[in-house]
C-alpha cells in the first residue's frame, strides 16, 4: 500500500518550509495550526521534515547552551572562591566591629575620665607605697566620740580653700615634710583633701581600695622631718605619677578653672602639712586620735575624691564639693568596677561599705560589701539614672554651722548623728532620695 503511494502527488500539497517552521515554532494561528496538524496526520513526509527540523533545532539549542555554559565555567571557577572570600569578608567585618566597639569603649572611658573631678587634672596622681595598715580592710567609721578630734570644727571646704602660704592654725607647728604625705597622695591621687574622719563621720571607706592600693607605705618615716621639702615632694610626685599613669593620663577637665587648680595644690600642701602634724602626734604618743585606721580613713577619703561622678549640668560648686565626698578611691578606678550588667560604671557613690553604682544603661546596682557583690536595685524613678551621689546631713548642716565657729553644738550634733542620704539624678535632672540606696523616693 505504501509503495503505491504517489509521493509526487503528495509533495505538491505539502505545506511550505515557512509554514512548517512556523508550526514548529508555535507561530501559527489556531486555524492554521489545525490545518497543518491535519496534514501532518496523513503525511509522513512532512512529519519527518518537522521531526528533523525540530531535532536540528534541539541540537542547535544544545550547542548554543554549550557555548553559553563556557562563560559559566568562568563563573563557577570564581564561584568556588566565593566561600573563602565570604569568610574573609565576614572575618573582616567582625574585626571591624570589635575594633569599633573597643574604640567606643575607649572613648567612653575617656569621657568618663573627663567627667571625673576637676581636681584630678589639677593635681597629678601621686602614689607611694602604702603601709600595711592602709592595705588592711576598711576600718569602720571612726566613732564620733573619738577622744581627740583635731580640726573637727573646721569645715572641709575651708580647709581645702586655705592658701598654701597660710599656716595651719590648728596644727600649731611649722610646715614640715609630711611623712605620710606621699602615702596620702598615692592613695588620694589627684585631689588631696584633708577631711578627717571625725569631721566627716560618714566618709567613705573602701576596703577594696585598700586591698588594691599597692605596696605598703613607709609608715615609719622619720617624724622629725618636719621641714617642708620641695625636692622630696617632687620625687614623690614623680614616683606617684609613674605608678598611676592610667590615672595621670586623664585629660584635664575643661570645667576646672585655674584658680581651682591652684586651690587644689594648696590643699595638697595643706594635707601634707597636716600629715606631718599627725605623724608627729602619733610618734609622740600624745595624740591618740590619729590611729592607723583614722589615717587610712583619711586617705580613703582623699582617694574617694578621685572618682567623681559627672555632675548634672545645674549642679553648683557647693554640690560638687559634696559630691567629692561620696566618690570612690582612684584605686577602684584603676580597678574597674565589674557590675553584673557588664557595663562600665557611669556614676558611683559610697558610704562605708555601701556602694551604689549606675552603669551606662542607667541601671543602679547596690553593694553592701564594698563592691564585692552587687545587686540590682529595682527601678523606682523615671527616666534614665545618670548620677548617684551621697549627700550627708552634715553637708547641709555645715554651711549653716560654719558661722557659728568651732565647737558649735549644731555641727557636733550633725557629725555625731550622720544620716546618709543618697541622691539619684535622672537624665531630666529630677532627683530621688534614698537613705539605704535601695528604696528611693522622689524629691
Amino acid at each position: 500500500m505504501n509503495r503505491a503511494m504517489n509521493i509526487k502527488g503528495q509533495h505538491e500539497m505539502h505545506p511550505g518550509a515557512e509554514t512548517l517552521s512556523a508550526f514548529t515554532e508555535q507561530a501559527l494561528s489556531a486555524k492554521e495550526r489545525g490545518e497543518v496538524l491535519a496534514h501532518l496526520a496523513v503525511c509522513g513526509r512532512c512529519r519527518q521534515v518537522v521531526a528533523l527540523a525540530r531535532e536540528a533545532a534541539g541540537a542547535e539549542v544544545a550547542a548554543t547552551r554549550h557555548e553559553v555554559v563556557r562563560p559559566r565555567a568562568w563563573w563557577r571557577s570564581w564561584g568556588l572562591a566565593v566561600v573563602p572570600v565570604s569568610a574573609m569578608a565576614a572575618t573582616a567585618l567582625i574585626a571591624f566591629y570589635v575594633h569599633e566597639r573597643a574604640a567606643q569603649r575607649t572613648s567612653d572611658v575617656a569621657k568618663l575620665e573627663q567627667q571625673q573631678p576637676n581636681e584630678k587634672a589639677a593635681s597629678p596622681p601621686q602614689a607611694l607605697p602604702q603601709s600595711p595598715a592602709q592595705a588592711a580592710p576598711p576600718a569602720p567609721a571612726t566613732p564620733v566620740d573619738a577622744p581627740t578630734k583635731p580640726r573637727e570644727t573646721e569645715r572641709p571646704d575651708e580647709a581645702r580653700r586655705k592658701p598654701a602660704a597660710e599656716p595651719d592654725e590648728t596644727a600649731g607647728a611649722p610646715p614640715a615634710a609630711p611623712p605620710d604625705a606621699p602615702r596620702a597622695e598615692s592613695i588620694g591621687g589627684t585631689l588631696p583633701s584633708r577631711v578627717g574622719p571625725a569631721e566627716t563621720p560618714g566618709f567613705e571607706r573602701h576596703g577594696m581600695a585598700f586591698a588594691r592600693a599597692g605596696a605598703p607605705a613607709d609608715d615609719k618615716s622619720p617624724s622629725g622631718s618636719s621641714i617642708y621639702d620641695e625636692e622630696h615632694k617632687k620625687r614623690a610626685d614623680e614616683a606617684a605619677e609613674e605608678r598611676h599613669q592610667s590615672v595621670a593620663k586623664a585629660a584635664t577637665p575643661a570645667g576646672l578653672h585655674d584658680s581651682e587648680v591652684d586651690e587644689t595644690k594648696i590643699d595638697k600642701t595643706e594635707i601634707d602639712k597636716t600629715g606631718i602634724d599627725k605623724t608627729s602626734i602619733d610618734n609622740a604618743g600624745s595624740a591618740p586620735a590619729e590611729s592607723p585606721t583614722a589615717q587610712s580613713s583619711e586617705q580613703v577619703e582623699v582617694n574617694s575624691q578621685q572618682l567623681q561622678p559627672q555632675p548634672v549640668p545645674d549642679v553648683s560648686a557647693g554640690s560638687l564639693m559634696r559630691m567629692r565626698s561620696s566618690a570612690i578611691s582612684p584605686a577602684r578606678m584603676a580597678t574597674p568596677i565589674h557590675l553584673p550588667s557588664g557595663l562600665p560604671a557611669l556614676s558611683v557613690a559610697s558610704s562605708d561599705h555601701f556602694v551604689l553604682a549606675i552603669d551606662k544603661k542607667g541601671t543602679l546596682f547596690f553593694s553592701d560589701d564594698s563592691g564585692l557583690a552587687w545587686r540590682k536595685v529595682k527601678r523606682q524613678w523615671t527616666g534614665r539614672a545618670i548620677l548617684v551621689r551621697k549627700k550627708n546631713s552634715e553637708d547641709a548642716a555645715a554651711p549653716a554651722a560654719a558661722p557659728e565657729g568651732p565647737g558649735s553644738n549644731s555641727t557636733a550634733d550633725a557629725l555625731s548623728h550622720p544620716e546618709t542620704i543618697f541622691e539619684l539624678f535622672n537624665d531630666q535632672n529630677d532627683l530621688w532620695l534614698s537613705a539605704d540606696g535601695r528604696f528611693w523616693t522622689a524629691k
Binding site: A17, S21, A41
Partner: protein, 319 residues
C-alpha cells in the same frame, strides 16, 4: 501607501503562492507601514522605503493577514498579523536576496555555522550535513537560475517563524526529498514496513467479510478522529517517534502527549468496536475481529492514514 497593484508586482518564485488570489482588498495602513519601517532595520541594509513597503505588502497579502481568503483585514488585524512577523529576519532575507553585501556578511555571521550544524544534525553525518548545508547556501546565494533569472529561495521567506527555523526546515525538506528520491518509492520507515508486512499479509484468521467490515470500521473511526489525534497516532505508531519528539513538535509536555495518545487509542478502538457492532457483529465477534492485541490496528492505521485525503493544503512545496 501601498496599493493592491504594488502587492501584485512583488517578485515571486514559482513555488510561492499566488499573491493575486490572496491579496487583500484593502491597502495596508500608512501609519502601520511607518511604524514597521521604524521598527525594521531596512535603512541599515540599504533597503529603500518603496522596497520595504512592497515587501510588507507581499508578506501581508501572501497570507491575507492570517484571515480567510477574500476577507478584508482591518488596520488592527493587519497590525496583529505583523506583530507575529519576524521583521528583522524578513528585511535581512530580502536584503540578501537583493544582493546587499553587508546583509550577506550579517547572514553568514548569524546563520552560517548554525546552518552547518543543522545539516549535520538532520543527516546524522558531518560530511553529508556539510554538503547539504553548502548546497543550500549556494542556492541561497543565487547561484541557481530559473528561466534565465537568478533565483533566490530567500524570497519565499515571509517572516512567519524565524529565518533560522525556515533554513532548518528547508534543509530537512531537502534531506527527506533526497532520501525519497534516492530510495525511489521506498519509504523512510522501513522498520515499520517490516512490522506492517505481516499485519497486511496476515493470514486471514477471520472471514473476508469480517475483514472488510473491520476495514470499513477502522476507516470510519479514523475519519472521526480530529487532526491532533490522527497526528499523534501517525507520529507514534507509524513514524515511531518518541513521546518527547512529538511533544517538542507540538510544544507540549511529554506527559500530555502520552495522555492524549492513550485517549486517542482507546477512543479509536471503542469506535471501531461500535462500528463493527453496528454492522451486525456481536461484541464478542467484534473483539475477536480486532484480535487480542490492540496494536494490530496499527497496520491498518498506517494504510488508512496514508490514503487519507486532506484538503488543508493546496500549497506546493517551496522548493
Amino acid at each position: 501607501m501601498a496599493s493592491a497593484e504594488t502587492v501584485a508586482t512583488v517578485p515571486e518564485t514559482a513555488s510561492e503562492p499566488k499573491t493575486e488570489t490572496l491579496a487583500p482588498q484593502g491597502a495596508i495602513d500608512r501609519r502601520l507601514l511607518d511604524e514597521l519601517w521604524r521598527a525594521s532595520d531596512g535603512p541599515g541594509w540599504e533597503l529603500t522605503r518603496d522596497e520595504f513597503d512592497t515587501t510588507v505588502a507581499d508578506v501581508g497579502g501572501a497570507w491575507n493577514f492570517g484571515l480567510e481568503a477574500g476577507a478584508v483585514a482591518t488596520s488592527e488585524q493587519q497590525a496583529d498579523y505583523f506583530r507575529g512577523v519576524r521583521l528583522d529576519d524578513l528585511v535581512l532575507a530580502r536584503a540578501c536576496a537583493a544582493g546587499n553585501e553587508r546583509a550577506w556578511e550579517q547572514f553568514i555571521a548569524r546563520h552560517r555555522q548554525p546552518l552547518i550544524r543543522a545539516g549535520i544534525a538532520i543527516t546524522g553525518s558531518e560530511t553529508v550535513g556539510r554538503d547539504l548545508a553548502d548546497q543550500l547556501y549556494a542556492e541561497l546565494f543565487g547561484l541557481n537560475t530559473r528561466e534565465g533569472q537568478r533565483s533566490c529561495p530567500l524570497l519565499s521567506y515571509r517572516g512567519r517563524g524565524s529565518l533560522m527555523g525556515w533554513l532548518r526546515t528547508t534543509l530537512a525538506q531537502r534531506h527527506v526529498d533526497h532520501l525519497r528520491r534516492t530510495r525511489r518509492l521506498k519509504p523512510l520507515d522501513d522498520p515499520m514496513d517490516e512490522i506492517d508486512a505481516p499485519a497486511a499479509e496476515a493470514p486471514a484468521q477471520t472471514p473476508a467479510a469480517e475483514l472488510s467490515q473491520l476495514q470499513q470500521a477502522i476507516e470510519q473511526a479514523l475519519r472521526e478522529r480530529d487532526a491532533e489525534e490522527r497526528f499523534l497516532l501517525a507520529a507514534y505508531y507509524l513514524d515511531g517517534q518518541t513521546l518527547m519528539q512529538i511533544a517538542r513538535t507540538l510544544g507540549v509536555h511529554e506527559a500530555t502527549v502520552s495522555r492524549k495518545l492513550r485517549r486517542a487509542t482507546d477512543s479509536t478502538r471503542k469506535q471501531v468496536l461500535k462500528n463493527l457492532q453496528r454492522d451486525g457483529l456481536s461484541r464478542r465477534a467484534a473483539e475477536e475481529a480486532l484480535g487480542a492485541d490492540p496494536r494490530d490496528i496499527e497496520v491498518n492505521l498506517k494504510k488508512l492514514l496514508q490514503n487519507s485525503q486532506t484538503e488543508a493544503f493546496k500549497e506546493q512545496a517551496a522548493l
